[in-house]
Subunit: 240 residues, 2 copies
């Protein structure tokens, strides 16, 4: 794949799955064959894109069972997450196991949706990806979560471990009418001066797409805030 | 303790920590000595109440090191979470280990803040508690997460396992101006007809309290939506 992107945060509920499904949808609509790999035992990304979350998916891929990705739209395939990811067989695998397993796929882009908690599952994504989008909202809890992911990535890069070498912060669900949100950009600029900051504004269309289980490019008007912002993020990814 | 409450959800970012800190603050303000046990490796609840999240806490308690709870206000003590909770020594413990360990404390109320993911940590809370608040927001991802917690609790009760015997759904961050939120109560009534539903409306005061690291009863006006709703939830807990 020419683009391998992990979407991570540590902190729960900041918009990881919404961003992962969104950029997958935008990339597919541009004509790129995209595989979304759901690393969450909750399997939200698979469900949110319209796939059956209980079908064989990422756990089976990691354990060598060669699951067939589920095609949910033109240029868009999904490997569901699910409870098998929590098993000891998966936990014992090398951090590089997912990077190895996805080599068999020839999609133009592979997107990894990381779960909250479950560090070993997030790590599979950070190691298999070339670039990481670290999703953060305006609350200090989320900023602290982002700092932990940055720390992990920086330490791995310094030790020359396999995995993503570049990353950006994605400010998620931003609504500048809220006091906390106004300060987010400057807070991140101060804490992480060398890390690019991307923006996804609060837009109910993004939430409705995953409620209706349809890729957002099909579910929402093309000029809505959410899609415009997702396209900017995709632009940043492509200009790497 | 006369009241032992776990706050759980499975799904990330629905408001578990905000609810846990909120009910702890309300109970303490009523004159009840309260211990908040942070079961999250992120240690958000400790930080959000003003304690040092890196101090010895719940992991040390589970491993028999007798950590001293941190007093952060009159009638309010905290045992921080932290990365030690992710260790294999904690993962190998019996599910009843936390129930055993908190027997040494004589607070009137013990509140357990459960993390997203990390099933074994959530389970410590479900087993140590007598009652569980299952936090859910209006998105289907959160409703599915709540259904998983209900399933776990029902199965444990049926098998007569130690742990919580009653629970309620807490509809969190509800703003009836939003389309999805309008349907939440009826969706939950249809899926879980036998489970009580409690309400915590969207209120920036709840978010600001954990940003300012002050118990919400001290940080916000007494008649704000958030505190009024938290008091209703505490009333439900006390009328058990
Ligand atoms: N830009 C946005 N605008 C509006 N709503 C959003 C946006 N991003 C996410 N949401 C909503 O916020 C909630 C949390 O998003 P999501 O589930 O994608 O987060 P997550 O980080 O993947 O959560 P988890 O930690 O459980 O995996 C969902 O209800 C989602 O619809
Ligand atoms: N009733 C509410 N009104 C306004 N904001 C809220 C409310 N409840 C929670 N929030 C905000 O929503 C975000 C998520 O809340 P919180 O961190 O408590 O959720 P959580 O379920 O504990 O997350 P995690 O899964 O990471 O543990 C925070 O920014 C918090 O301030
Ligand atoms: Mg998610
Ligand atoms: Mg929390």
């Amino acid at each position: 794949a020419s683009m391998k992107v992990a979407v991570a945060a540590g902190k729960g509920g900041v918009g990881k799955t919404t961003v992962a499904c969104g950029i997958a949808s935008v990339l597919a609509a541009q004509g790129n064959p995209v595989l979304l790999v759901d690393l969450d035992p909750q399997s939200n990304a698979a469900w949110g894109l319209g796939a059956d979350p209980t079908q064989p998916g990422t756990a089976e891929l990691l354990l060598g069972d060669n699951p067939v990705p589920i095609q949910i739209a033109e240029n868009l395939w999904v490997l569901p997450g699910g409870p098998g990811l929590k098993g000891h067989e998966v936990m014992r695998l090398d951090p590089e196991a997912l990077a190895d397993a996805i080599a068999a796929f020839d999609h133009a882009a592979v997107i990894f949706d990381c779960p909250p908690g479950w560090d070993h599952l997030e790590r599979f994504g950070l190691v298999a990806a070339e670039v990481v989008l670290i999703v953060v909202d305006a609350h200090p809890f989320a900023i602290q979560g982002a700092a932990r992911v940055v720390e992990t990535l920086s330490a791995r890069r310094q030790k020359k471990r396999q995995g993503a070498q570049r990353w950006a912060l994605v400010m998620s669900r931003v609504d500048l009418r809220r006091a906390l949100d106004k300060d987010l950009e400057s807070a991140l600029a101060a804490m992480f001066p060398d890390i690019d900051r991307l923006l996804i504004r609060q837009d109910v269309a993004l939430s409705l797409a995953t409620t209706e289980r349809v890729p957002v490019v099909k579910a929402a008007p093309q000029n809505c805030r959410g899609i415009v912002d997702l396209q900017e993020v995709v632009g940043w990814l492509q200009n790497g």
